[in-house]
Symmetry: C2
Subunit: 554 residues, 2 copies
């Protein structure tokens, strides 16, 4: 009982999939429970979950779970994992209002009964076993983002995940520097800090600077203004609405993730919109083009997102016109560059005006503070030790260099791996502990649009489920199938495989019937084939094998 | 005979694979013959060739071929396609000294007899049928880059591919503004212009600014300086050598592409290096770390490049030490971000200091001019019509906006597709003509390191060759195969398939024997399996099917 164990299960070295354990005696406090996103080297897999096998097998008790903010990579895995965690016994869960609302909405959709309790900033710390957790307001790109000051019998931890220090945030709710300084004065054994912006010098510009950019663009544009941004960036939505109202533009929200975030933020009164401003998608044609702003989900070029479907001329309700201006109020998340720029090219080809970074950088500011902001947090909290979290290794290394430029020593900054335990002793000494399992756990995204309904697919299920490979040759010029797709099934037995095979071929052919003209989006096509085959196999066999569609351009 | 036909076979909308036809009567003049690079949606395929089926079937004569500069995307397809082109009858080929040397080296390696003739800047125009071609010096990121002024019976064309206007280039050889202005005064019917930098405002900084950055870094660093850059950027190599000599560092060139470029540029006296400066790889250990600069190929994180093998601790001769500083003197080419940053992360994890964009942007300047440089070329050449080339559609659209900001009309700027013919009449009128075939032609890269020895694989060969899919489950923690890989073969018959299967499994297991520790590079692993299986099938069956390795992380 003379040490505190800190174990990152995710969020180290790969930005996403944030989940951290603070362990004292037989008590565990969990911070965040986020999703990861698979890259193109992991075929047929879309989402990653943190590996909770250590938590499940440890002879310890979960005394509570707390959440820093409502982004997918901090709360998105909760619906998948909560029931397994609750098998160890009940525990309280706390988050600030917006975070709780977003996460609870997801739990509801997944049919999970349990809910997160809401904590308001300024409330006294929550007691969970030997721990207390104080929620401290910081600025980021989603409302009610929080740092969490955690006290333990061994010492105090400042859990400083995703943040920036914007002193003129659009909603006026600044980071609470006073409280940060106060807890710093109580003594911080270790600062866990966001490090994603450590490569950038100086400070970020304020979110407030963006409003005038929208106003200028909306004033100048003769046609519709179509803005794509992160659905959860409510401050951004507010600015787009305000600029629209200034120029008498009606606002229509398009895309499921966006509409859901709009509903939650309206309910919590975080979104300000005049009663006459919002219109529905079927009213668009009743207004002249210069009276319309469309806010559309899909700023990352996500396949099947509303923005991609609009660009591909495959959206049910929206057809682009040459007077439209499309504004990207978002940077490509690293790894998404190819998808985003494919989307920009497709839009440019349709003859619409496109404002995107790097052509126009002034419609977006990052949510992750630059060097000076990271240094500011270091100075306010005055920690003994530092652990950068939420970045790739290069960001962690850049953060370490920042710390070394201050009074910190090399041994004060720990660059960890997922699963690497650190043991903190009361006298301030630290040592590395066990390596607990921190494998990637794959989840396949079934819903095309977004993170909504999935099938859990852990390793065992995968090997039970088998593998289906679909090889389709597609003519690039006219989007037609060249010949019957080749379908290879492994790992399960089918009673009447020629019948199933016939069904799958027919389904794929049907899916291709609507496709015309040059292929714009090969990723989308590959996905489409995968979805059709998955659906058919589930329908006929009630199985969910790993489906790997391979499209050959011809 | 009252019109000139311009046909881009590649280089429109996808940056690479540059190849253009100027056609008058029954004569064709070809400009450039470049490779394209496949993206991750085209599994099992590495390189793309321009589709020359139109040239081969047209009842026209090739009167000549000219080349703008020695980059792969302008000359790299020549070795694959030249013998087919020569089947139509002999024709002359011209390029400036460095371009010709690089391309001729490739022709030699491929066993092609024919060579490109060297033209020096300042020589009188080359006559080819009804065309003449004048080579005009411009600055870019490879020596002897040229714009080509082409006269035709219908009017004059300024073929302004890849360039920037650097007025203090490292080699002192500025763009020849006088000649550009002179040909502009003769009247330019159409300017074909690089557009890749059209999104950036202003002018690029000069290459010269980089020298002091290298000097500072080499002076400060206690250990080895390891610089990775584009092999063909000889000015950059010269600066690295000069800065090394200032600090008494020996220089070692590592990587086949780099050594080849070094040899060519030494032969042509484009590279300046003191006799004692260069050392060979086996001499490295004879010098203290602060006396060494290693120039290493692989700045794009190319799998199997020297830089990636060094980072993965898999290079035969080089082991990283914690005193090393690795400098990226290159930006990630769009689409390569994931590979490049994976490489940076791996290096950072080894504990070396890494200087890379965006952390440090001052070791690289683009080779493609920004808006003001593009406008400068427009003003000097005073064309009637404009065709942006060598960019994605968004760059073409940005270029069009630049032109519209001048005195040009919408109808003066043509945004084309590959294969879209444009017909120019003597009176200056233009119209769109045929759509000639411009499909992607795939080539598989066999040599891991670079564009050197390939197997041509057109559609027919692919369908004759069949398909092999290898499914391997690999443990992320220790790089071990979880179970026997699944191998699925389609499209060809094997006499004794269990024997072949056994061979393949054994080969894969052997390949994995050297792998230890956490998997760093999944792409590399996938490629390794592919190569092993390809080699085995070729050895046992003399076949080259399409091999699709699928690696499942476990």
């Amino acid at each position: 009982m003379n040490q505190l164990s800190f174990i990152p299960l995710g969020g180290i070295g790969d930005v996403t999939k944030n989940m951290y354990i603070y362990e004292y005696g037989d008590e565990m406090l969990i911070v965040d429970c986020g999703l990861g996103f698979a890259d193109e080297t992991m075929l047929g897999v879309d989402l990653l979950l943190p590996d909770i096998s250590y938590i499940l097998q440890a002879k310890k008790k979960i005394v509570g779970m707390v959440f820093t903010h409502g982004h997918e990579d901090h709360i998105g895995a909760l619906p998948f994992l909560l029931s397994q965690l609750l098998n160890k016994g009940p525990f309280p869960m706390y988050a600030t209002p917006f975070t709780a609302a977003v996460a609870n909405e997801k739990l509801k959709e997944f049919g999970v009964q349990k809910r997160i309790d809401t904590v308001n900033f300024g409330e006294t710390p929550k007691h969970m076993g030997s721990f207390t957790a104080l929620f401290i307001r910081v600025t980021h790109s989603i409302p009610d983002t929080s740092h969490i000051f955690i006290t333990t019998p061994i010492g105090n931890f400042y859990h400083g995940s995703d943040f920036k220090f914007d002193d003129t945030p659009f909603d006026g709710k600044k980071s609470n520097y006073d409280v940060i300084e106060q807890v710093g004065q109580k003594g911080v054994l270790c600062l866990l800090s966001d490090c994603l912006g450590a490569e950038r010098q100086g400070r970020l510009p304020s979110e407030l600077d963006i409003l005038s950019q929208f106003e200028n663009a909306f004033g100048e544009t003769q046609g519709r203004c179509i803005v794509t941004t992160y659905s959860s960036n409510i401050a951004r939505l507010n600015q787009i609405i305000l600029a629209s109202e200034k120029y008498n533009r009606k606002v229509c929200f398009i895309g499921r993730s966006l509409v859901k975030m709009k509903d939650i933020s309206l309910r919590l009164r975080y979104l300000q919109i005049q009663p006459q401003t919002e219109i529905q998608i079927d009213q668009i044609d009743s207004y002249p083009e210069n009276m319309l702003t469309l806010i559309v989900a899909g700023s990352q070029g996500q396949e099947s997102s509303a923005m991609v479907r609009i660009a591909d001329n495959e959206h049910r309700d929206i057809r682009l016109s040459e007077h439209d201006t499309v504004i990207f109020s978002a940077d490509p998340i690293p790894g998404n560059e190819t998808l985003v720029y494919e989307l920009v090219d497709t839009l440019a080809k349709r003859g619409v005006k496109v404002l995107y970074p790097p052509l126009r950088r002034d419609f977006h500011v990052s949510g992750h503070g630059s060097s000076d902001e990271l240094l500011h947090l270091m100075r306010l909290t005055k920690p003994k030790k530092l652990v950068p979290i939420g970045g790739n290794f290069r960001h962690m290394a850049a953060y370490k260099n920042l710390a070394l430029s201050q009074s910190f020593q090399k041994s004060d900054v720990l660059l960890l791996d997922d699963g690497q335990e650190v043991l903190f002793a009361k006298d301030g000494t630290i040592k590395l502990g066990r390596n607990v399992p921190a494998k990637n756990v794959y989840v396949d995204e079934i819903s095309g649009e977004e993170v909504e309904s999935f099938v859990m697919r852990d390793r065992q299920k995968l090997s039970e489920g088998g593998v289906v490979i679909v090889l389709a040759e597609v003519d690039a010029q006219n989007s037609e199938l060249i010949s019957k797709p080749d379908i290879i099934m492994r790992g399960f037995r089918v009673e009447n495989d020629s019948k199933l095979y016939g069904h799958m071929i027919a389904d794929i052919k049907t899916a291709f019937r609507g496709k015309k003209g040059r292929v714009n989006n090969w990723v989308h096509l590959r996905k489409l084939i995968g979805e059709v085959v998955e659906r058919r196999i589930f329908k006929d066999l009630r199985r969910r094998p790993l489906v790997l569609p391979v499209v050959i351009e011809a």
